[in-house]
């Protein structure tokens, strides 16, 4: 099924190999890329996709193999060299200097030339307009949404005249509308003869834009097919995982119990100039999955942070397990019963420099230690069990969290929080960055939690919301517009309308 092309490839990888200690991240990977095409790179968590792309972009050095660019061999010792040859990458974790402005980030390498500032800004504006990458060049990056940050990253590459643009899971942090416009940018780049490579776990995205699909498994490139030859999601899923994937989850009915969490009139965050969420009322009952959805930036993030006790609320009361807390006392609440899976797995969810075992103990210190001791063996056993149950791949339980691939890190946090047997589980974008199989496993795990707990799911992924939820609350500009039961198909359209701020029931 190999591709046949008449022109010689722009980029050819031959037998690329990369090891991290004992982990073989890439094993003899061979791949060729042509100009004017869009490639989707798929594979399970930890398959080695990010590693391979980082080698192309000059961030990592391969242990073996060769790269040929337009027929001549190249070796990139730094991202600078790769960029100079026209290869640029947008990383999973954005590489922007937050306190600096958009323009400063774009001009960073060359350095803004004094006196030519207005010209530089105009140039950036023109470039942005040409590709529909709207963003204010004078805004500090710190104030931008994820979608805007990504546009800045793309502008950075275009400004440097990159010919091969690599994206590591670019859609994970985007809203539906943003994904559509990102794909429009991809198509425009393709028309201009540039090469686009993007990593993704969402099969429908692959079908939407890719010309060619490459699949990695356990460090190897296992198949390459033209997108036109793929008939169904099932084909793709099978290629990725190497076995049949069900892709639809069973949702056995569970008796709905008492309300575990009741939120009344919540507003916040405290101390902000502008409230990010206002007068929020809802309850989450044992046995149900209650979902809060909405376009990113409508207050869900702040609401969850407040509920998780990470940020103070301005007003309202929370009652949890039949105890009422004022806004101020909720923040200081200690004690168990509530587990939280944060969206930011790298900073809020885990600690880079800790091993998997240490990270696993992080929110469960009561179970694994006291003031004077730590039950290391027990923690190690529990971690090993989690690694087995959730098939977390990486350097073993004594390895550092920093060395886990994105998806495996998410699974570690999930396993830890579920093992706390909470009364309320707050899961924020729990399958972001997970492969199809892992997504399925997480979904199953969340559904299982209903048996003993109330689940508050916060997700921007409509498919996830509809698959799992019993009731869905849609947030818009800081308020819950409506709460919809997720049973009827007609509700999908209503939810979409609500997400756009329309269709509120009178």
């Amino acid at each position: 099924m190999a591709m046949t092309t008449l022109s010689s490839p722009v980029l050819a990888l031959t037998d690329i190999t990369k090891r991290f200690g004992d982990v073989r991240a890439n094993q003899r990977v061979t791949w060729t890329l042509d100009a004017g095409r869009i490639y989707a790179l798929l594979g399970e968590n930890g398959a080695g996709k990010s590693t391979l792309m980082s080698i192309l972009a000059g961030r990592y050095q391969p242990d073996g193999g060769e790269i040929h660019l337009r027929g001549s061999p190249v070796r990139f010792l730094s991202p600078a060299q790769a960029l100079a040859s026209g290869i640029g990458m947008v990383y999973q974790r954005f590489m922007l200097v937050e306190p600096l402005t958009v323009a400063e980030n774009i001009l960073l390498r060359r350095g803004p030339i004094r006196g030519k500032r207005t010209r530089d800004i105009r140039q950036i504006r023109e470039l942005a307009e040409r590709y529909g990458l709207l963003v204010n060049p004078l805004a500090p990056v710190r104030t931008l949404t994820m979608g805007e940050r990504q546009r800045v990253e793309i502008l950075k590459l275009l400004y440097r005249q990159a010919e091969i643009l690599i994206f590591d899971e670019p859609t994970a942090v985007l809203t539906h509308a943003e994904i559509d416009s990102l794909f429009d940018v991809f198509r425009q780049l393709k028309e201009e003869g540039k090469t686009v490579v993007f990593i993704t776990h969402k099969l429908e995205e692959v079908m939407a834009v890719a010309d060619e699909i490459a699949v990695m498994r356990r460090g190897r490139m296992v198949s390459r097919v033209a997108a036109a030859q793929v008939r169904s999601h099932h084909d793709l899923a099978r290629m990725m995982v190497g076995r049949e994937v069900i892709l639809s989850v069973q949702k056995p009915p569970v008796a709905i119990g008492e309300a575990v969490l009741t939120a009344m009139g919540l507003s916040g965050p405290a101390g902000a100039d502008r409230l990010k969420f206002q007068d929020v009322d809802f309850e989450v009952r044992r046995g149900e999955i209650f979902t809060i959805t909405g376009v990113a930036g409508n207050g869900q993030e702040q609401l969850v942070a407040a509920l998780a006790g990470l940020a103070p609320m301005a007003a309202g009361t929370v009652s949890f397990r039949n105890r009422a807390y004022t806004a101020a006392r909720w923040r200081r609440r200690t004690g168990d019963g509530l587990a939280y899976i944060p969206e930011d797995r790298d900073r809020t969810g885990s600690i880079d420099a800790f091993t998997l075992v240490e990270n696993f103990m992080l929110t469960r210190l009561d179970a694994f230690g006291g003031a004077l001791w730590v039950r290391r063996r027990r923690a190690a056993r529990a971690t090993a069990a989690a690694v087995r149950d959730f098939s977390i791949q990486g350097g073993g339980i004594r390895g550092l969290a920093a060395h886990l691939s994105g998806g495996n890190r998410q699974k570690l946090i999930l396993a830890r929080e579920l093992s706390r047997r909470p009364d309320l589980l707050i899961a924020e974008q729990p399958t972001q960055g997970l492969d199809v199989r892992a997504t399925e496993e997480v979904w199953q795990a969340l559904l299982r939690q209903r048996a003993s707990a109330a689940v508050l799911l916060v997700t921007g992924d409509l498919k996830e919301a509809l698959t799992l939820s019993d009731r869905i609350a849609v947030m818009f500009r800081g308020r819950i517009l409506d709460i919809v039961s997720a049973r009827e198909a007609a509700d999908i359209d209503r939810i979409k309308l609500l997400m756009a701020g329309l269709g509120k029931r009178e």
Partner: protein, 308 residues
């Protein structure tokens, strides 16, 4: 009374120059994310080398250059440990201070008591020096003080208004992002560490050529540590460093003044402690209360490596 004020002011400026120069240097280094606690050691080394070169050559320019360069070279040792080997920067900086103190105390012994080869005396600036009070305070100073006056805005301009300055600040915030943008993180950090050493070396040269000409053991008397605190007080901004340095110099001057007029309002040893007490107070004030984030570089003291 006016004369007293002019006298105190003059001494205050005179006493603030070394701290100011060292602070400027450390600001540059820290802006790039390199914390160098070796300022005291680099200052001492600069002071000794300047004094020695002065005695050997009698040439003021060579003496200043020797002291400055010595500070810079010693900083490169820190650069090697902190940037290339990625060891703990606090340890490496402290080691540098201990090294500087030990080596200068040993190598400086033959120089103690020898007449200084170079004395940079105050040079009144024609015209400006005749302005009442102001002229006396600011424009009857050592040439190195004038150099410091010029370096302050230059440093500020460099950090905040040039392409290199932008890169320096960016590296201090997020080295990985700067690396991904195709900029050599190591080169910038070495450059800034070196620049920081030059500042401390120059500060040392000022002490042994101008402030109290000649070499004395531990002649910096903790001013290197004060400079490190001043960086925080100045919130990593060269212009504000002037205020901090002048406060330090002012307290030192008061101490001289009371000694000179022979009144002892406060015990002398309390006065001697004042600059350091002030430093501590400043640190506390800057770090409590609202608006605590004072623009310190986010990646200060964090080593950078590509493969994690």
């Amino acid at each position: 009374m006016i004369e007293d004020l002019a006298f105190i002011g003059q001494i205050a400026v005179k006493s603030s120059i070394a701290v100011l120069l060292a602070t400027l240097g450390e600001i540059v280094a820290e802006r790039s994310g390199i914390l160098n606690l070796g300022v005291e050691g680099m200052m001492l080394t600069g002071a000794l080398c300047a004094a020695a070169a002065g005695i050997a050559t009698g040439n003021p320019i060579l003496a200043v250059a020797a002291g400055t360069l010595a500070g810079g070279l010693l900083a490169l040792v820190h650069g090697f440990f902190a940037v290339t080997l990625r060891v703990n920067q606090v340890l490496s900086g402290l080691a540098l201070t201990l090294l500087g103190m030990g080596v200068t105390s040993f190598l400086g012994r033959p120089l103690i008591g020898i007449a200084p080869g170079v004395r940079l005396r105050a040079v009144p600036i024609p015209g400006l020096a005749d302005i009442p009070v102001i002229g006396d305070i600011f424009f009857r100073q050592s040439p190195l003080a004038y150099l410091a006056y010029v370096l302050v805005p230059l440093c500020w301009y460099w950090i905040f208004h040039t392409g290199t300055g932008l890169k320096i600040r960016a590296v201090g915030e997020d080295a990985a992002a700067v690396d991904a943008a195709g900029i050599d993180v190591f080169r910038i950090r070495y450059l800034c560490t070196f620049a920081g050493g030059l500042g401390a070396g120059l500060a040392g040269a000022y002490l042994s050529l101008s402030y109290t000409p000649g070499w004395k053991e531990s002649m910096t008397g903790g001013q290197g540590w004060v400079a490190i605190a001043m960086v925080i007080f100045a919130t990593w901004n060269p212009l504000r460093a002037v205020v901090g340095a002048f406060l330090f110099g002012g307290l030192t001057a008061l101490q001289f003044y009371f000694q000179a007029v022979g009144v002892e309002l406060v015990p002398a040893y309390v006065l001697k402690m004042l600059p350091y007490l002030l430093t501590i107070a400043v640190m506390i004030l800057v770090n409590v209360g609202p608006g605590r984030r004072f623009g310190g570089p986010a990646a200060l003291g964090v080593p950078f490596s590509r493969e994690g």
